[in-house]
């Protein structure tokens, strides 16, 4: 049986050997590994890039107070980005599944069409959800557009859902029962030990206690700061503010206080920030 951390080690080793820089998670609240500048900004322009990293990803609306065995507000993605996408990337990816312990002679692995779109990032790509015996374990995307800019070189992004993958490999129906460190008995550390408290408390925060007025103010501040920093061409600090605005939007959304039109409006505002950052990045780093 592969522990949660063993899966990460295997993937890191595999993609590190392939030639990716194995990096650490981005130190901000992001909704998906794609938001990290190590994916998003690095995918612009002509320079080649290969990286792999775990990205804890926050989706406040998915919080279930630790009560749902399948859903959490903070999950872990293993993110691989390669630019330009290699010609044999599908085979390379399938080998990574063997490495974590999915024997394709026993399983049914499928590439099911998925058009990926992130309205907040003004980003779009084509690819698939990878299903293993009916469970989606990876998103496989060829980026086509980021921040409203059509990509020059095409980046392939592979996003493994680590919880799903681990539940699959450990034949476990409840995420909290996952074995994190691979030990049994007293030495065992489970997903429950690591994550349950944060699931309960952050669910309460996102659904009940987050102060919407403060969130709105923070959003406005981040927006203002981002625009100022873009003018100074400080792209990474500016982009951090864009990420912040996006997370604040997700919190407001989870609180259920946004009407349909305000929702659309705020998404457009975050997208505008992402676009600004991308434009300067492309201009300065070609």
């Amino acid at each position: 049986m592969k522990s949660f951390q063993d899966i990460i080690f295997s993937l890191q080793k595999y993609w590190g050997d392939y030639g990716c820089a194995v990096l650490q998670p981005y130190d901000m609240e992001v909704g998906a590994g794609t938001f990290s500048p190590l994916t998003f900004l690095k995918s612009l322009g002509k320079k080649s890039w290969r990286a792999a990293y775990v990205q804890p990803s926050r989706r406040p609306a998915d919080g279930r107070y630790g009560e749902n065995p399948n859903r959490v507000q903070k999950h872990h993605q293993f993110q691989v980005v390669i630019k330009p996408s290699p010609d044999d990337i599908q085979d390379i990816y399938l080998k990574s599944l063997e490495v974590v312990g999915i024997d394709h002679k026993l399983h049914d692995i499928r590439f099911v069409e998925d058009d990926w779109e992130s309205p907040t990032l003004g980003a779009a790509g084509l690819g698939w959800e990878i299903w293993c015996d009916g469970m989606e374990i990876t998103q496989f995307t060829y980026f086509q557009q980021l921040g409203g800019i059509f990509c020059d070189q095409i980046t392939v992004e592979l996003t493994y859902g680590l919880e799903r993958l681990a539940m699959f490999l450990q034949s476990e129906d409840n995420v909290y029962n996952l074995n994190w460190n691979g030990k049994e008995g007293d030495g065992k550390i489970s997903y429950r030990d690591v994550c349950l408290q944060q699931e309960i408390e952050f669910s309460k925060y996102s659904f009940e206690y987050a102060n919407v007025d403060i969130l709105r103010q923070h959003f406005a501040d981040a927006e203002l700061e981002c625009r100022k920093l873009v003018e100074k061409e400080l792209i990474l600090p500016a982009y951090d503010q864009c990420i912040k605005a996006s997370h604040l939007f997700n919190l407001m959304d989870a609180r259920g206080t946004l009407s349909v039109t305000e929702r659309v409006d705020r998404i457009a505002r975050v997208r505008a920030l992402a676009k600004l950052c991308c434009e300067v990045q492309v201009k300065n780093h070609e």
């Binding site: 749902n68 015996d133 349909v260 039109t261």
Partner: protein, 675 residues
């Protein structure tokens, strides 16, 4: 025997676009072959998730032919003409002049010599490959090339040899090998000729023909059905999708744990079908605790692991559903109304509860207008209609809106008619069977169209994000199907009055015109002639009467009696022009024909009043009055043949005009202006 074979290997092509793409590709290639004068026969093509295949028997030589190429007009500037001559390496003397549409153009004759097919075939294939129109295409790597998904291998064999095709843009050159099934037979397979290809692919677990994959699945379904005494519920769209997801279908059967079987059927079948692409099964019409699915792999353990995995995924989804179902049942459906307030609808128009209340009021207006007997049931339906939007089941599975409301209402003991109305509100009109359900659906649609028009969000061009056109057509179809005779404009007016007053003031007229515009389209689709619907669709009549009139007139005017009536009606109008006097002085009637006509007119007028009193419906009245007029047409025709209206005697002339005016006014009541 076919001598040409092409196989394009692509990373998994989305299932939904495969069928159209392959038929387009075959058309493109054969059209190009014809254009290039390459004779072909026995062409066919196949598509699988990873392959686009074309084969045909081609002539080895291209036919000799002369092409006439059109150049500029002879009056064009010398530079233009010179450019044309230069581009085609010809002199002015070699050109001929030819007239096209009364203008004279230069033409040149280009003689194409006999060539080997192999010289041109590569380019044809390459061009056609690039010309396939995908609804979404993409780039990959650092290549400037667009295709549905990355193109990875091109195998092209012509007359036993490798046909050279270079896709320089993606660094790919054609070869004479392919690969088998991604997991079962991934090895390289050399192909020498067309026949060998099919047998070798079959051995490599690739079924190229989508029809054959479909049949394999259906046969397997039948086997399972007889083995397990179950019935596999086949949804054709889902089957088509699955056929495009696999190269070697393997049908497997999974179990649904008994504890989930108490859930309403839709709660089980929705995740099954929509989320997992599984097929539900039935025993004696009831949902059975099995599901059937199609894998793309012959597993070494006979599929045991695959089945277990799929069962686990489904169980997780159903466990969620069961939890939602049980939670939802802890509160009454009606108590959810308070929660509807928390769901925003629109900044100006408030929340979903506000909307639900408006729909409920519109139901009242319609019931009053129709003098509906069961209006209390309509009212109850409208109070509960939107409540399920606040249940956790519908939050999780939005496609179950209406359906869950109906289940929860049934479990809580609501009247079956109310449950049906809740279920039917989002369904297409042909699935609505009771008038209670029809009124709720009608009210919902009228409210929807009116509010969005008031917010200036009416459809423009191809954009109709709130599906208002469909809603308008729904309004019309319900009206016709249930024979609801009501004043639509008045209902729209009352709906609009419920909205805040800072919205668009001419909304009522706009909505009414919009719906009448849709009405023309609906009538046209029913086969009503354009001139008839142009005349019948007016703001004066009720929607139901317009439907009735249009249908009766359309049938009537197609027979000779109808045609005759229309001719007489026009002729009468042309004579009377602006005369509006209708007093007929019997003493001034001289001729036999005019006396007869006058007698008949009087009788017709009596008949009209009698029909009006005795008819039970508008359509009956209209039909009878129309045929009474048609009978008159014969007498009027005799009158016109024998009597000169414009005599010198002005008194007699006026009297005859009045006689005809009287007739014309009767016709006007059944024949719409403009016909």
């Amino acid at each position: 025997m076919n001598n040409f074979l092409l196989e394009l290997m692509v990373e998994e092509i989305p299932s939904g676009v495969q069928t159209e793409a392959i038929s387009e590709f075959e058309k493109l290639v054969t059209a190009e072959l014809e254009k290039c004068r390459i004779r072909y026969k026995n062409s066919y093509s196949y598509i699988s998730p990873r392959r686009i295949v074309f084969s045909a028997e081609l002539n080895l030589k291209v036919d000799e032919f002369t092409e006439e190429k059109k150049g500029p007009q002879i009056t064009a500037t010398p530079e233009v003409i010179e450019r044309f001559l230069h581009a085609n390496s010809v002199s002015r003397r070699e050109c001929i002049e030819k007239e096209v549409d009364k203008k004279i153009f230069l033409f040149i004759k280009i003689k194409h010599k006999v060539r080997d097919t192999s010289e041109v075939l590569g380019n044809i294939i390459k061009n056609c490959t690039k010309k396939i129109l995908w609804n979404k295409s993409m780039r990959w790597g650092n290549y400037q090339f667009y295709f549905v998904r990355p193109l990875r291998n091109v195998m092209a064999i012509f007359n036993g040899n490798l046909l050279d095709i270079k896709f320089d843009e993606i660094n790919l050159v054609s070869c004479n090998h392919t690969y088998g099934h991604r997991f079962i037979a991934p090895q390289k397979i050399e192909i020498a000729n067309v026949d060998e290809y099919f047998s070798k692919m079959k051995n490599a677990f690739v079924i190229l023909d989508a029809k054959e994959r479909r049949n394999v699945i259906i046969d397997e379904f039948k086997n399972l059905e007889s083995q397990r005494s179950i019935f596999v519920e086949v949804n054709e769209n889902l089957l088509d999708e699955v056929v495009g997801l696999v190269e070697y279908p393997v049908v497997l059967l999974g179990r649904i744990p008994e504890r989930f079987m108490k859930l309403p059927e839709e709660v089980i079948t929705t995740p099954l079908r929509v989320h997992q692409r599984y097929f539900p099964t039935r025993i004696d019409g009831k949902l059975a605790p099995y599901f059937v699915f199609i894998a793309n792999n012959v597993a070494t353990d006979g599929g045991k692991t695959i089945i277990e995995g799929n069962e686990r995924v489904l169980n997780a989804r159903l466990a969620d559903a069961l939890f939602f179902f049980e939670t939802d049942l802890q509160c009454s459906l009606e108590s959810r109304r308070a929660d509807l307030r928390k769901i925003a609808f629109n900044d100006k128009l408030g929340n979903v509860l506000d909307r639900a209340n408006r729909v409920s009021n519109v139901c009242d207006y319609i019931c009053n207008s129709l003098e509906m007997e069961d209006s209390h049931l309509v009212k109850r339906s409208s109070i509960l209609a939107k409540c399920d939007l606040a249940t956790s089941m519908v939050c999780e599975f939005p496609e179950l809106q209406g359906i869950m409301g109906a289940h929860y209402a049934r479990i809580q003991g609501e009247d079956p008619a109310v449950c049906d109305a809740i279920r039917c509100q989002y369904l297409p009109v042909h699935e609505i069977t009771s008038s209670i359900s029809a009124i709720l659906s009608l009210a919902d649609k009228i409210e929807l169209v009116t509010t969005f028009f008031a917010l200036e969000k009416k459809p423009t061009g191809s954009k109709d994000p709130f599906a208002l056109r469909r809603a308008a057509i729904g309004i019309l179809k319900i009206t016709e199907k249930f024979q609801f005779d009501f004043n639509l404009k008045e209902i729209i007016q009352k709906t609009f009055q419920q909205l805040p007053d800072d919205l668009r003031i001419d909304t009522v007229d706009c909505v009414h015109d919009f719906i009448l515009g849709r009405l023309k389209i609906v009538l046209k689709e029913m086969g009503i002639q354009q001139n008839i619907l142009n005349a019948t669709v007016t703001g004066e009549d009720s929607i139901l009467n317009i439907f009735s009139k249009s249908k009766v007139l359309n049938d009537f005017l197609q027979n000779s009696l109808g045609e005759k009536l229309l001719i007489i009606h026009k002729r009468t109008k042309n004579i009377i022009l602006l005369n509006s006097e209708t007093f007929v002085d019997e003493k001034l009637l001289q001729e036999k024909e005019e006396i007869t006509l006058w007698e008949k007119i009087k009788k017709l007028e009596e008949k009209f009043s009698r029909i009006a009193i005795e008819s039970e419906s508008f359509i009956e009245k209209f039909t009878q009055q129309l045929s009474a007029c048609a009978e008159m047409a014969q007498d009027a025709s005799v009158f016109f043949d024998k009597i000169l209206v414009n005599t010198d005697d002005s008194m007699i002339r006026q009297n005859r005009l009045n006689l005809l005016t009287r007739l014309s006014f009767i016709f006007d009541t059944v024949i719409p202006a403009g016909l």
